[in-house]
């Protein structure tokens, strides 16, 4: 009986499911590269780089459509059940998060030409933004790893990381308020608030991906609601 | 984990039949046709002779309406008592053999296989003996009845009903075996469905199995009857010979096979012709019975499909 259980049937189906998952995880990698380039464009006021980010969002949109179509085919043709079904449902959710994260990167990139062509002004805000973007990139990477390896505790850790990101967001806001008295910095700082906001949204999306990871493993869907206070 | 290699494209070709195969085919066909012809020859000859020798007698006046006179001179009469006697003797035999044969088959199929070990052994033994009985020469049955019923003078000396008993012994295994075969072809799913509705086993047999098997049972019975009509030996020892028409089975009765036997041995050629005519009649009756049996089985087959 044990041998019968070891025999792997539905080989093609398993491969297809695996491919769908790889496509979705690949989407997360695209997000990481978009994120890096958007932040660089903002840091160096690189308008051309920003334009590339906007153009490359088409790839993420395309990936979304591919995975969406793949999920529909899988449901219609293969009728997955149990954990396979949970994975397919999760992938659909995750690719939506990927698309949203891609859109946030575009939002950031479109802010670059608006900030003017002078060198950025406030070092503190730039540092905080760098920290925040690093943290966010780390979140995206870990969300991907947690889902790929079905690692529940790694997924749950993303809540803690998100708390840090949210804290950085508040600090940026505070700092922007502080420099708001200086008219040359004021406009730029307000745009930086928007950038921080985009990064924070990206972070929230990784928490959603973490929730899906837990769902796939346990079969229970629990919202990671109310991010705990991060240790200062 | 398929290890089937994809096929490389090749041009499809339909090979022709080789000459050697064609020749072999022709030779085989010729041999089979020859065998068929050889088998048909005796059959055709029999029919030819029957018609040639018997048709005249059979269509002569009084053939069916007069009894044989048995006299050496003068009128020879007809075959009426033989015909009617045979029909009555065989009818009584059928009335004995068919119900018992069906009952035996029902026991073997419905109950014999399913009971306790001793029951199964018993059923298998019965089946074996029934099989053996189908091969026993008919003269043995005649002798058996002669010894047990005739010599012992139970109910008189020779009598029609004793002939019926002998013939029923002959018919019994045929009816039983053919009924058993038909009952076995009734699918078990039907029995299951009836049992699952809450039917006791005897109702399953009487209301579902037997009606479904009925055409086959009728066919088997008709064929057994046709066989019994032509048996001479049992009747010789049990019914003997009579010329006069009688419907009383406790008396000696005339029968067709015995009449043929007597008529052929007669020195008068016109009596010999009567034997042929009687033979033709007998063959015609058997033929009709066979056709009816086949018609029934064909009708049931088309109704069931």
């Amino acid at each position: 009986m044990a041998e019968a259980m070891e025999r792997d049937t539905r080989h093609q189906y398993r491969e297809e499911l695996h491919r769908l998952e790889e496509q979705t995880m690949g989407g997360l990698e695209l997000v990481v590269s978009q994120l890096d380039r958007a932040i660089e464009a903002i840091a160096y006021q690189d308008v051309e780089l920003a334009a590339m980010v906007v153009a490359d969002d088409d790839r993420i949109d395309g990936r979304y459509l591919e995975v969406h179509q793949g999920v529909l085919s899988m449901l219609a043709l293969q009728a997955p059940v149990a954990s396979d079904l949970r994975v397919v449902a999760a992938l659909l959710h995750i690719i939506r998060c990927v698309e949203r994260m891609g859109d946030q990167c575009v939002n950031m990139a479109t802010l670059v030409p608006l900030t003017g062509h002078e060198a950025p002004k406030d070092k503190d805000i730039l540092d905080l933004l760098e920290q925040m973007s690093n943290a966010t990139r780390q979140q995206v990477r870990e969300a991907r790893e947690a889902f790929r390896t079905r690692h529940v505790s790694m997924a749950q850790d993303l809540v803690r990381q998100d708390a840090l990101v949210n804290q950085l967001n508040r600090k940026i806001f505070q700092r922007a308020v502080d420099v708001g008295d200086e008219p040359e910095l004021r406009e730029w700082a307000m745009f930086m608030i928007l950038v921080a906001r985009c990064l924070e949204r990206i972070g929230d999306n990784t928490v959603e991906i973490a929730e899906q990871t837990v769902f796939v493993v346990t079969g229970l869907f629990r919202e990671f609601s109310g991010t705990p206070e991060a240790p200062s | 984990m398929s290890t089937i290699e994809p096929k490389t494209a090749t041009r499809l070709q339909l090979p022709r039949i080789s000459a050697r195969r064609r020749t072999t085919d022709r030779v085989m066909r010729a041999l089979l046709a020859a065998a068929t012809m050889i088998a048909l020859v005796p059959l055709v000859l029999v029919i030819y002779y029957l018609l040639k020798e018997g048709l005249g007698s059979m269509t002569s006046a009084g053939f069916f309406t007069q009894d044989p006179t048995g006299s050496f001179f003068g009128q020879i009469g007809g075959i009426r008592s033989a015909l009617l006697g045979s029909l009555e003797i065989v009818a009584i035999a059928a009335a004995i053999a068919i119900p018992i044969g069906i009952g035996l088959a029902v026991f073997l199929v419905e109950y014999g296989g399913k009971g306790s070990k001793p029951m199964r052994v018993f059923a298998n033994t019965v089946r074996y003996f029934v099989d053996v009985m189908t091969g026993v020469p008919s003269i043995i049955f005649g002798l058996f009845i002669y010894i047990t019923l005739v010599i012992s003078h139970i109910g008189g000396n020779f009598a029609g009903w004793k002939g019926s008993v002998a013939l029923s012994l002959l018919m019994l295994p045929i009816v039983a075996r053919s009924t058993e075969l038909v009952l076995q072809t009734v699918p078990d799913t039907l029995r299951e469905a009836a049992l699952a509705l809450g039917a006791p086993r005897w109702r399953v047999t009487s209301r579902v199995v037997l009606p479904a098997a009925l055409p086959g049972i009728v066919t088997g019975s008709l064929l057994a009857t046709a066989r019994a009509l032509g048996e001479t030996a049992p009747l010789l020892f049990t019914v003997a010979v009579a010329n006069a028409l009688t419907f009383n089975p406790s008396q000696q009765m005339n029968s067709m096979p015995v009449q043929i036997y007597n008529d052929i041995l007669s020195p008068r050629s016109i009596v010999n012709s009567q034997a042929w005519g009687l033979g033709l009649t007998l063959v015609l009756i058997v033929l009709i019975l066979n056709l009816v049996a086949r018609g029934i089985s064909r009708k049931s087959r088309s109704a069931g499909s």
Partner: protein, 288 residues
């Protein structure tokens, strides 16, 4: 006083057991067009079933909830059909087969030695894989066959036939040819005829052994809809090797493997988040 009460209680048990036996006359149990009867649950306890010396069912205990559809799934040879046939005591019809353990219907022991076998089968009806209308009977005779077999009296046969055919959705299709042979119908219609025949004797439980295996998809869906309607009146247990049918048509699912129950859960749960790893592997097609 207490002694008298005890005797009365014993008598009551006797009577109720007897009523299970004497309900071969269903007409006396229900004179009026009855509302859906209160549910009847089937309970299987420590059931072992043997074919000769081979043990096919190795100790099973299941509670089948009343007025629900329970599906039994599992790979070939896991014992699901054997177990089903133990419930209406058809298993023992097979040469050399026997079963030990307990099967109760509403607490009544179906295997008690004094119980009338045909009464058990009237209370627990069965529909088989291959539709088997009786070939020598007409449509109406087929539906009434169960009533005739069990010698039901005081039953308006015509009305019962019409009711049953209505219940399975065949009435409109066959009402003009009730006297034509039962085997003249299509496969799906024949199976519905068999279901009508089963419910005509008014059982409490209906067992279905892979009822749609021999049918085309449209007929299959019709039968599944019928099952969903019938559960209002009967407790239904269906053995199927088609997992999608189990997931479509049942409320509860039991997964069996090698003669034992592995998991017994609400269908939705078993197919989205099964608890046992073997169930997970079976329903996702990794074996079986």
């Amino acid at each position: 006083m207490s002694n008298a009460a005890k005797t009365d209680e014993q008598e009551a048990t006797q009577v109720s057991t007897k009523s299970a036996e004497t309900t071969t006359k269903p007409g006396t149990r229900q004179a009026d067009p009855a509302p859906a009867s209160a549910g009847h649950s089937v309970s299987v306890n420590d059931l072992h079933a043997y074919y000769g010396s081979t043990e096919a069912v190795k100790g099973i205990g299941i509670e089948f909830a009343a007025n629900q559809v329970t599906a039994i799934i599992g790979p070939s040879g896991c014992g699901k059909s054997t177990m089903l046939r133990c419930i209406n005591r058809m298993h023992e019809e097979i040469q050399g087969a026997r079963a030990t353990g307990q099967v109760t219907l509403d607490g009544l022991d179906l295997y008690a030695p004094e119980v009338d076998l045909t009464a058990v089968r009237r209370l627990v009806g069965m529909v088989f894989q291959k539709p088997t209308p009786f070939p020598t009977m007409s449509i109406a005779q087929n539906v009434a066959a169960g009533l005739k077999f069990t010698g039901a009296k005081n039953v308006d046969v015509k009305q019962r036939v019409e009711q049953s055919l209505q219940a399975v959705g065949l009435w409109d299709e066959v009402k003009d040819r009730l006297n034509s042979p039962g085997i003249g119908l299509s496969g799906g219609q024949q199976q519905r005829l068999c279901i009508a025949r089963t419910i005509a004797v008014e059982p409490e439980v209906i067992l279905l052994d892979e009822p749609c295996s021999a049918l085309d998809p449209a007929a299959t869906l019709k039968i599944e809809e019928l099952i969903a309607e019938l559960k209002a009146q009967f407790t239904i247990i269906i053995v199927t090797h088609n997992m999608q049918q189990a997931s479509r048509a049942s409320d509860t699912t039991v997964f069996m493997l090698d003669g034992l129950v592995v998991e017994h859960a609400p269908t939705k749960q078993l197919f989205t988040n099964p608890k046992d790893n073997r169930t997970e592997r079976y329903v996702t097609g990794q074996f079986g």
